[in-house]
């Protein structure tokens, strides 16, 4: 019974991390930047929503405004940081260092403004428990997480494959040079991608903390899981990233049956090592 509940919890959290993995994969496949500061944008989304809710803004508008805030921050990082570094032909290592710096700045600004301690959202619909047949229990926020994140994933896939901008993004991702000479304007597309991905990552960034509270440094571990899912799924495959995120988090949750939760980072990392040894290109690599 416990196993079933853990499985369900795993799918819920997994869909949240799946959206994070998909948003990260969009950025990585298009801009080639390993956007470590994405963890900061994720955390920022939750804090923005928390502030708005505390100021009396209703939940849904608060979510939308938080997403807008993340879009602004994500785009600014691209325009002011990655863009100039890219134009200068900076080494990958330097871009990574800049991204790590941006992460440190965002996290510590949050800690300075709010406090390094855990913040809880005020009690609301999120904590309402819905008993399901078979003794399963789902909270309001868990149901919202699954629904919103699966819809967001579906919309992202549809966007990438059906819309003009989505096709333009995939074109830039698959061949930046060709995109440049056919005037698809890769640099502008990079900004769009960062904006879209930052809005996307705000969804799990807000819904997750509704469940277990906000912490300024809480974005790094989810991002690590999300990037492992992206690599295991295969760079360039959005569906692979999402599926692997769900699978990894389900495994993490089932591992709770045999070991305490403090070690779940070990489970995640073991999965990564296995993939690196056996299938370093990921499960679904090759699809742009």
């Amino acid at each position: 019974m416990l196993a079933l509940q853990l499985l369900v919890n795993g799918i819920v959290t997994g869909s949240a991390l799946g959206v994070m993995a998909v948003s990260f994969a969009l950025i990585y496949a298009t801009t080639r930047v390993f956007h470590v500061a994405h963890a900061g944008v994720y955390t920022l989304g939750g804090y923005l929503a928390w502030t708005l809710v505390h100021r009396g803004v209703p939940d849904l508008p608060a979510l939308v405004l938080a997403m807008a805030g993340c879009v602004v921050v994500g785009s600014l990082i691209q325009i002011l940081l990655y863009g100039p570094l890219d134009r200068r032909g900076a080494a990958q290592l330097v871009v990574l260092i800049a991204s790590l710096g941006a992460l440190a700045v965002i996290q510590n600004l949050i800690a300075a403004v709010y406090s390094p301690d855990i913040l809880e959202f005020p009690p609301n619909w999120a904590g309402h428990v819905f008993p399901l047949p078979g003794g399963l229990r789902l909270t309001g926020v868990q149901i919202a997480t699954v629904v919103v994140d699966f819809i967001a994933f579906g919309l992202t896939l549809a966007f990438a494959h059906r819309t003009l901008l989505g096709k333009r993004i995939r074109a830039v991702a698959s061949n930046p040079f060709l995109a440049e000479i056919t005037r698809l304007e890769p640099r502008r597309v990079h900004v769009y991608v960062m904006a879209i991905a930052s809005a996307l990552v705000c969804l799990p960034g807000v819904l997750g903390p509704l469940d277990y509270g906000l912490q300024p440094y809480g974005g790094v571990t989810p991002l690590l899981t999300a990037t492992i899912a992206m690599i295991a799924g295969g760079i360039g495959s959005l569906a692979g990233a999402f599926a692997l995120a769900v699978a990894i988090v389900v495994l993490q949750n089932l591992a709770l049956l045999v070991m305490p939760g403090e070690w779940s980072i070990g489970v995640t990392f073991a999965i990564f090592v296995v993939f690196m040894l056996l299938r370093p290109r990921g499960l679904f690599a090759g699809k742009a």
């Binding site: 260092i97 700045v105 300075a112 980072i265 990564f272």
Partner: protein, 287 residues
Amino acid sequence: MDYFYSYLILAEIYTLLGLSTNLLVGVVGIFSVSQAAVFGVGAYIVGDFLLAGTLSFLPALAVAALACILLNVLISLPSLRVAGDYFVVTSFGIQLLATATFTNWTAGTGGANGMPGVPPPDLLGLPIESTRGILAVTTVATLVACLAFWLILRAPFGRLLKAIREDESAVAAAGKGVLSAKVSAAALAGAFAGVAGGLYATYLSFIDPSSFDLDASILLLTMVVVGGARTLAGSIFGPFLLLALPQVLTFVAIPTTYAATARQLVYGALLIAFALFRPQGLLGERL
């Protein structure tokens, strides 16, 4: 005066760590946010042996150095197999895993409460308890490490490492062992971090996971980026400068609860500023 000595001791220990990080990040050219984890392993190993009384200071330090060499080679090996960006995941993963171990493995590390009462270093059975004595020990260790770093960068081996950074396939085509060169550099980096850990544990006599977490790794990276990659001067200047920074920050009226936050904020801003405007650091070569 003791206050100044203690700054010197810590700056020297961090110089060892700066050399270690510089070997990995600057010389071999891999992104690392896990050097604090290796540092921590060295510190806990020395702490454990001295507390149990099974080994005296120098043998314990040697064991710690060996363990850290092994660990650092193990950590760096994936970077030799997978593309650069994947190694970021390895590095973050190792750091978070190490923090989880330091915090939760209470039997070996004291857990979140830390490990108090590590005895001071001793030489040939004589304990060194004065700050000056410890300063002498760290100075000798740091000078030896600096000399090793300087000699290596001048030696043919150092030129080989630089050549690998410039063009790995050309070096391989010239029949040089790329893998063994990188592994050797990682091993040396591990030894420096292990010794630094042992000195740190015995000097402070108390260690806890917060000295070896992700923030500590970011500090080490900032030291190398600010000081400058691939030069001895940069590896020394970075730690001395950045460890003076908290003293400067104490003159600005920041509540103590926010001191750590303010420091990390400055480190992050420095990383961004140097990446954008001065990737070679103050006294280094281009990253």
